[in-house]
């Protein structure tokens, strides 16, 4: 870590590459896949095609960013799918009417997501209960509430808003602008704070973080709260795409958010990684899915292929095992 202090440009670059090489590799693969997709895709490149592609990954990208913040603290949020589904169902009920009502509904849904995350964070940091068990339990609760709001798929969402946010501006998809704007804003505001450094510190070693004066509880609560917030943003965006509410979509988003986080270079053991990698991971997964769709794989074989791709993506992280000098390092 001594190289950080030397201020020459090349050492800064080396440090940057060393910290982010996983995300950079993922980004390279994403570009290759995108080109492959362009070649396979039957129609010529257009704004519509670009925004359709961007929309497909948007919901997952937001959710994966939320998951990443929790994974960085070496926790996991298995309730993230349920929060996603809950905000989707809330949107299908409230996101309607004139501009004022839409605005109120928007705030309400984000608040619901924040509250769900806060409950997770507060219970995890003030009791000894493990994140896995707690978020499975709260996930059941949030799913129950979503099911209570929407027992069957249905409802409607303001179509003008949907049109405004799912097409493109100056040839750039609105959804991509939204994601990047949200994340850059979040990153610029949070990056220099003690809270954000605390999230990373807890993931590396909770004990050391505590002894170095990191407010462990505060940082944990913040991570889970942001996870809830981003999950509800993802749910909101999906509602704008599908215009309906469905309580049962959570499970697949939960799994994919963890997968996107891992593919984007965040270690499940915490402390390493970042939110932008997870956006890349989400788009990588979604692009692969589209490629499989257009490559002519039988529809009934697609879930199987998706699963195999997911497994291969997860195994990439195991390459690090080859570089371990001592066999003992393999074991926790």
């Amino acid at each position: 870590m001594a190289t950080i202090n030397t201020s020459t440009r090349s050492s800064w670059l080396r440090y940057f590459l060393r910290r982010n090489y996983r995300a950079i590799i993922a980004f390279g693969i994403l570009i290759m896949l995108f080109v492959a997709f362009l070649i396979i895709y039957p129609v010529r490149f257009s704004d519509n095609f670009f925004s359709a592609w961007a929309n497909q990954g948007a919901g997952l990208a937001f959710t994966a960013v939320g998951q990443t913040l929790v994974v960085l603290t070496s926790g996991i949020d298995l309730s993230i799918g349920s929060i996603f589904a809950l905000s989707n169902c809330l949107a299908s009920v409230f996101l309607n009417g004139d501009l004022f009502h839409v605005f109120l509904a928007f705030i309400l849904i984000l608040c619901a997501g924040i509250c769900c995350g806060l409950v997770n964070g507060i219970v995890i940091s003030y009791t000894q209960i493990q994140p896995i068990i707690l978020t499975i339990a709260t996930g059941a609760i949030y799913y129950g509430i979503a099911l209570f709001i929407r027992p069957v798929t249905g409802g409607s969402v303001n179509e003008a808003l949907s049109d405004a946010l799912t097409y493109s501006v100056f040839h750039i998809p609105t959804s991509l602008i939204l994601i990047l704007a949200t994340l850059v804003l979040f990153w610029v505001l949070m990056k220099p704070t003690r809270l954000y450094i605390g999230i990373y510190a807890i993931g590396s070693s909770e004990k050391s973080a505590f002894m170095s004066g990191v407010r462990v509880r505060q940082a944990k609560i913040a991570a889970y709260m942001f996870s809830g917030l981003f999950a509800s943003l993802g749910g909101l965006f999906l509602s704008l795409q599908t215009l309906t509410g469905d309580a049962t979509i959570g499970m697949s988003y939960m799994l994919n958010s963890v997968a996107a986080t891992v593919i984007g270079g965040t270690a499940l053991s915490g402390g390493i990684g970042g939110i932008f990698g997870s956006v890349v991971g989400s788009y990588l997964l979604r692009t692969l899915k589209s490629i499989m769709f257009f490559a002519g794989i039988a529809p009934m074989a697609q879930p199987l292929f998706e699963g195999i791709v997911l497994m291969c993506a997860l195994s990439i992280g195991s390459i690090r095992l080859l570089g371990m000098k001592s066999k003992i390092d393999i074991f926790r």
Partner: protein, 308 residues
Amino acid sequence: MRIARNPIFVSLIGIVVVALVGGIIFPQVFSINYLMQQLQLASFLGIAATGAMLVILIGCIDLSLPWVLTAAAIISSAFSGRGVLISVGVGLLVGLAAGLANGLGAAILRIPSIIWSLAVNFIFLGICVFITGGFMPQGHPTAIIKTIGIGRTLGIPNIVLFWCVLAFYIIMTLSRTRFGRFIYAVGSNERVSFLSGIRTRGIIVTIFVMSGICNALTGIMLSGYSNQAFQAMGDPYLIPAIAAVVIGGTSISGGSGSYVGTIIGVIFITYLSSLLSVLQVPEAGRQIFFGFVIIAMTISYSRRKEER
């Protein structure tokens, strides 16, 4: 006050409370027939929870339960025309394959089982969709499986007897064999176990295979109980199985827990969900209630740690 924090004691009190509340509303809850019916339902969850508990004991988790269970049931009943041995054998092979996949990922590739087993779950979902085309699977289970799944001997459901045998085997393995000691050792600290000469990776793979076979068995028996296999038949078993294990006092971080606790947890969960269905609570309310019960009970146990 120490006994009030003992998971088995708390779960037993839970069972008594649920029985009393149920008994006040519906007196027939105390009839022998109702009890046997509940035990029968509990046995399926019990077999599934056995696998979940073993995996949790070594500090991992097996989330591939729902679709391994379903795939075993679907494939086993598809082969029912070729005799019971082949039918059950093929079903168990599905469990074996799932267990190997889970175990190799967790033990050799060192991928956290929480995400790896979810991916395995997804693979088996894919397999089920691929072989059935998404439709209702064909074929019915063999007569012998039906007898085990739904038949009774001397008034006791056969599946309960089956669970008793399995429980005896697991309790003996965990408490009386070297392998059982190794399971607790790996769960407490894998690195130290490895340095003490235990082949930890072999243990992990074996445990995941046992879990896969338990899940497959649950699926096969369930298909005997309902006389058919159907899509997503395993979905309602994942969270109750893990909840039963945790409520029964097994630590989710591994290394401690008793099978007796799991049995009591399974009976508590089954009793509770049957009470909720008797009260005609909708699915949404049930999910919410289950969530609260898991949180309340695990919080009440985890306070033990701070006292030490």
